[in-house]
C-alpha cells in the first residue's frame, strides 16, 4: 500500500536510486549516446544525399536513345553513350578473363595445397595489393601494355591496357572472396573424396570447387561491378573515344576506347548542359549496377547461411 511508506523513505528512493538523471555520470552517458546517434546519422546523410541526387538527375535524363546513340557534340539535343557501355563491357570482360582464372587458382593454392607460412605471406601480399591506389594500376598498365604496343608500332592506347589495369584491381577481391568461400567448404567433403580414392585435382575440381561455386560467383560479380566504376586506371590506358569500339580487324581494336566511368569524368568538367545530363545518366547506371550487385550478393549470402 502506497500510504504506508513514509514520506522521507519514498523521496530518497526516487531521488537517490531510480531517478538518476542529474548525476554527472549519467548525464555524460546520455550526452555520449546522443553523440553516437549523431555520428550514425552523419555517416548515412552522404549516402542518401548522393543516391537521391544521382537518382533524380539520372532518371530525368535517361531514355532509350542513351543506350544506342553516340555521345553528342556540345550544345546539341539527344545523343547517348552506347559506345561507352560497349567499351566498359569489353574492358571489364578482358579484366575478368585475366583476373578470374588467376585469382581462383591462387586461392585454391592458399586453401588446399599451401603451408601456413606461405599462406600468411600471400594473404598479406593480397591485402597490400588491394590497397594499391587505382591510379598506380593505370600507370603500371601504361608501362607494360601501352608502351609495349608503341614499341611494336601496333598503336598505343587500347582496351587491352584498360583491361589489364582493371584486372590488377579485381585480382585481390577475387582471391579474397574465393579464399573465404573455399575455407567454408567442410573438410569432411575433402576427406570423403580422398577416402573414395580421388586425386587432389579430382577432389578440388569435382568436390570443393562446385561446393564453393555460388560464393565465388557472388564475389566475382561484386568485383566486376566495382571495376566497371573505376576511372583512374582508364584515363591514360584506354583514354576515351567518341566512336564505337572496333573489334575487327585487330589493328582497329587497339585504339582509344570509351567507357562509362571516363565519360562521367569528361562530361562532368565541361560547361555544356546536355553533356552534363549524360554524365548524370551514366552515373546512375554505374550506381545502380553496384547497388544491385551488392544487394543481390547480400541476399545470396543470407540465403546460404
Amino acid at each position: 500500500m502506497p500510504e504506508s511508506i513514509p514520506e522521507t523513505a519514498n523521496s530518497t528512493l526516487t531521488s537517490g536510486n531510480l531517478h538518476r538523471s542529474l548525476s554527472p555520470r549519467t548525464l555524460f552517458n546520455e550526452v555520449m549516446t546522443a553523440l553516437a546517434f549523431l555520428c550514425g546519422a552523419l555517416a548515412l546523410i552522404p549516402l542518401l544525399a548522393v543516391l537521391s541526387y544521382v537518382a533524380i538527375q539520372g532518371f530525368s535524363s535517361l531514355n532509350f536513345s542513351v543506350f544506342t546513340e553516340l555521345p553528342p557534340p556540345p550544345m546539341s539535343q539527344g545523343g547517348g553513350f552506347g559506345n561507352a557501355i560497349a567499351g566498359t563491357l569489353i574492358m571489364v570482360g578482358i579484366a575478368a578473363a585475366i583476373a578470374v582464372p588467376v585469382g581462383v587458382l591462387a586461392a585454391i593454392y592458399l586453401t588446399e595445397f599451401s603451408d601456413p607460412h606461405t599462406v600468411r605471406w600471400i594473404r598479406f601480399a593480397t591485402n597490400v595489393l588491394s590497397g594499391v591506389p587505382s591510379i598506380i594500376a593505370g600507370v603500371f598498365a601504361y608501362g607494360i601494355v601501352v608502351l609495349t604496343f608503341v614499341g611494336l608500332k601496333w598503336g598505343s592506347y587500347s582496351p587491352i591496357a584498360g583491361g589489364v589495369a582493371l584486372a590488377v584491381l579485381m585480382l585481390p577481391i577475387i582471391v579474397r572472396t574465393t579464399d573465404e568461400s573455399l575455407q567454408l567448404v567442410p573438410s569432411e567433403m575433402r576427406q570423403a573424396a580422398v577416402g573414395l580414392g580421388a586425386t587432389k585435382f579430382q577432389t578440388v575440381w569435382g568436390v570443393v570447387l562446385p561446393a564453393a561455386l555460388p560464393a565465388i560467383v557472388t564475389g566475382t560479380t561484386l568485383a566486376v561491378a566495382r571495376a566497371s566504376g573505376e576511372t583512374a586506371p582508364l584515363i591514360f590506358t584506354a583514354l576515351f573515344s567518341p566512336f564505337w569500339p572496333q573489334i575487327w580487324p585487330p589493328q582497329q581494336f587497339i585504339a582509344p576506347t570509351a567507357s562509362l566511368a571516363v565519360l562521367v569524368y569528361n562530361f562532368a568538367i565541361v560547361p555544356f548542359k546536355n553533356q552534363q545530363q549524360l554524365a548524370w545518366a551514366a552515373s546512375l547506371i554505374l550506381v545502380l549496377m553496384v547497388l544491385l550487385t551488392s544487394i543481390i550478393s547480400r541476399w545470396a549470402i543470407r540465403q546460404r547461411s
Binding site: 591506389p133 598506380i136 603500371f140 583512374a232 569524368y265
Partner: protein, 316 residues
C-alpha cells in the same frame, strides 16, 4: 534403384600416370598463380622505377623538395603535391575518424535493435561501393555550392587564422578533404566495428557489473582493448585517402603550389597523374612516373603498417 550395379573393377583402379601428372601440374599451376600475386606487387615497383629512371637521374632526391612543375622549362618537383596529398588526407581523417568510430560504437553496442543495425551496416558498406567518379560529379554540383557558403563564413569570421585566409572560390582543399572523409568513413567504421565486436563479452559484463555506466565501459574498457584494431582501420583509411584519385582531381582545383589556406585550390600526387598523364611526353612522363613511384611507396608503407597491426589483432 533400378540401375544395375556397375562393375567395381571398372571404377576402382589406382590413379593412372596421367592422373598423377595432372595432379602435380595442377598444384604447380596454382602455386605459380599464388606467387604471382606477390610478384605483381614487385612487378609494379620495378616497372614504375624503370619508367621513372630518366627523371630520377636528372633530378634525384631534389624532386621531393622542389616546388615548380613546369613542362615548358622541363622543371619538375612534387613538394606541393606531397603537401596536398598529406593535408587532404589529414582533413579527411580529422572529419572521418570521430564520426567513423562513433558509428562503429553505435553499430557494435546494443543501442539499436539488431535488424536496424544490420541494415545500417549494409548502408555504410554501400558508401564504399559508390564509384569515385560519381562522388566527384556529386561534389562539383552539390558539395561545392554548399561548402562555398561554409567557406565564405569561415573566411569572413575566422579569416585571421591562416588556414582560412582565402575565400573558397570553388574547387579547393576543403571540398577534396570532405569528399575523402565520406569515402574513407566506411573503412574506419567496418574495421573498428569488427575489432569491437570480437572483444570477449566478459569485458563488458565485468565492467558493467562493477557499476560502470555504458560509456564509462566504452571509454575505459572497450576502446583501450580494441585500440589496435581502430588504429589499423585509421591507417588503412589513410592509405586509401592518399591514393584516391578521381573525386579529388575533380574537386581540388589542380593548383601546383603550396597555400596554407585549406580554402585555396591545391593538388595531390594522384590528381597530378590523372590530369597530366594523357597529354604528357618525354621527361614529363618520366617525372610523372617518379611521382607515381613516390605515391606507390608512401601508400605501400602505410598499408603494410596497417596490415601488420590488423593481423596482430586477428591473432590475439
Amino acid at each position: 534403384m533400378n540401375t544395375p550395379a556397375p562393375n567395381p573393377a571398372k571404377i576402382i583402379r589406382p590413379p593412372s600416370q596421367w592422373d598423377k601428372s595432372l595432379d602435380r601440374g595442377f598444384i604447380w599451376l596454382t602455386r605459380f598463380f599464388a606467387l604471382a600475386i606477390a610478384g605483381i606487387l614487385l612487378w609494379i615497383a620495378v616497372q614504375v622505377t624503370i619508367q621513372a629512371a630518366p627523371a630520377i637521374q636528372s633530378s634525384g632526391l631534389g624532386f621531393i623538395f622542389e616546388s615548380t612543375w613546369d613542362p615548358v622549362k622541363d622543371q619538375y618537383g612534387v613538394l606541393p603535391q606531397i603537401y596536398g596529398t598529406m593535408v587532404s588526407a589529414l582533413i579527411a581523417l580529422i572529419l572521418a575518424v570521430p564520426i567513423g568510430v562513433g558509428t562503429a560504437l553505435l553499430l557494435s553496442e546494443n543501442f539499436l535493435p539488431l535488424p536496424i543495425r544490420t541494415v545500417m551496416v549494409f548502408l555504410v558498406e554501400l558508401l564504399a561501393a559508390i564509384p569515385s567518379v560519381v562522388y566527384g560529379l556529386w561534389g562539383i554540383f552539390v558539395l561545392i555550392p554548399i561548402l562555398k557558403e561554409v567557406g565564405g563564413w569561415l573566411h569572413s569570421q575566422l579569416g585571421w587564422i591562416p588556414f582560412f585566409n582565402t575565400p573558397l572560390a570553388g574547387p579547393g582543399m576543403l571540398p577534396a578533404g570532405v569528399v575523402l572523409a565520406i569515402m574513407i568513413l566506411p573503412i574506419i567504421t567496418a574495421i573498428s566495428r569488427d575489432s569491437l565486436i570480437s572483444l570477449p563479452p566478459e569485458l563488458r559484463q565485468a565492467s558493467l557489473g562493477l557499476g560502470a555506466t555504458r560509456w564509462e565501459t566504452i571509454f575505459q574498457v572497450l576502446i583501450p582493448a580494441a585500440i589496435s584494431g581502430i588504429v589499423g582501420a585509421v591507417m588503412l583509411a589513410l592509405g586509401r585517402a592518399m591514393g584516391e584519385t578521381m573525386a579529388v582531381t575533380m574537386l581540388i582545383g589542380n593548383a601546383n603550389n603550396i597555400n596554407i589556406s585549406i580554402l585555396a585550390p591545391a593538388n595531390t600526387i594522384a590528381s597530378l597523374l590523372a590530369s597530366q598523364f594523357a597529354e604528357a611526353s618525354g621527361l614529363q612522363i618520366s617525372s610523372l612516373m617518379y611521382a607515381a613511384l613516390i605515391l606507390f611507396l608512401l601508400t605501400l608503407l602505410v598499408n603494410v603498417l596497417a596490415e601488420l597491426i590488423v593481423q596482430k589483432v586477428k591473432r590475439i
